[in-house]
Symmetry: C2
Subunit: 230 residues, 2 copies
């Protein structure tokens, strides 16, 4: 325990346990308590990834709090407030409270909402960068995302990608498993190269190198890369 | 030396030596030779970053080859071919040849051109993911890039950002130090939050939290984050 409490958001990468950073390993070990979305840590993907590279994580106290994504913004804000108040109480007891994030905490993480609330209260926070699926999937495929001068557009799960596909440069569609059949339909006939990775870095990982290879139903953790033809 | 030669592109993050991944550390140590852009390794930013976390790097042989970015595509392609032919020869001698990349090898790296050529010749390549400036700068500032549903647009150095600023979501302008005075002019009066980090993670790092704070001239290694007002 340190002299002052604080909150960490720790990116653990997206699957490959070796993709975790030295700082993430250090900050996990410094944590007094990990706030997780389930009573069973093994149900938390970020915890499972981290455990492979930091086995000492099993000695750290965990606290289960519901923080699944919900569509209703008010419900979501209320959930975040509950999680934050719990974290705040722990910080007041001088604990180092950590949230593990798949990928990087700056992108689509629950931690970011907690950090916003904490910063308003003057509580110390630190976001520890992680390898995100944007580049991890490209590297897994051996594909370059952007050459010099090329733009990159990252689009979270949506079926409404028509306009996006008109943007210049490379497009990455994140966590788009739920919309994949619609996305496939819209990609067909376009003059683009399409790649995808499902559960990148996990034992069940699958890589695809064309629209036709991508199955119509699969994991939510699907990343699609759309590149302009060179 | 392993039984078969290969080429690694190793992302080392963008400055903070603790932002390097376990895999990057391992692959650097496995390397027989590092191809660097200068005879003096200390002039290579990626080498300087890596040396802080992997001091053993000093025992690894280095080879200096010019690979500065040039505007002329033909000259660039010719340079890449020369670098590649050198790497290919080393691989044929069963060496593990590595390129260090600031940030991540999938984004704006010289390695990516070499990997394309190598893959066409059936040479084994592996890109090792790194923390990129996209998220590292946001985390340094304690700022979230994207909440659920928010798009992210990454724009390499250009003065022509007018159209980009109209895109929904968050914009990250990479390595935009050269164009910053024009960019600042275009950002003034827009209903956006603007942040910037110069030399993120390096001893000379500077953080800015408004357009007015950003100096008109500074390092090439400047990342600007433009967020829509919440």
């Amino acid at each position: 325990m340190k002299t002052e409490g604080m909150i960490y958001g720790i990116g653990v990468g997206i699957g490959d346990p070796e993709d975790i950073t030295l700082k993430a390993v250090k900050c996990i070990k410094e944590s007094d308590i990990l706030i997780l979305p389930s009573n069973d840590p093994e149900k938390c993907r970020a915890y499972r990834i981290a455990k492979k590279s930091v086995p000492e994580i099993e000695d750290i106290e965990t606290l289960a709090l519901e923080f699944e994504m919900v569509r209703d913004e008010n419900v979501r804000a209320k959930n975040h407030r509950i999680i934050y108040e719990t974290a705040k109480k722990l910080v007041s007891e001088k604990k180092t409270v950590s949230f593990l994030t798949i990928g990087d905490p700056a992108l689509y993480s629950t931690y970011s909402y907690i950090a916003d609330l904490a910063q308003k209260d003057g509580i110390k926070t630190e976001a520890v960068s992680g390898v995100s699926s944007i580049t991890a999937c490209a590297n897994r495929l051996g594909v370059t995302l952007c050459d010099a001068g090329t733009q990159l557009h990252v689009i979270p799960d949506t079926e409404d990608i028509e306009g996006m596909l008109e943007l210049p440069g490379t497009k990455v569609l994140m966590k788009c498993g739920r919309s994949i059949s619609v996305i496939k339909e819209k990609l067909k006939g376009k003059r683009v190269s399409v790649y995808a990775v499902e559960n990148c870095g996990m034992p069940e990982e699958k890589c695809y190198r064309s629209v036709d290879e991508i199955p119509d139903s699969g994991s939510y953790m699907l990343t699609v890369i759309v590149k302009e033809l060179g």
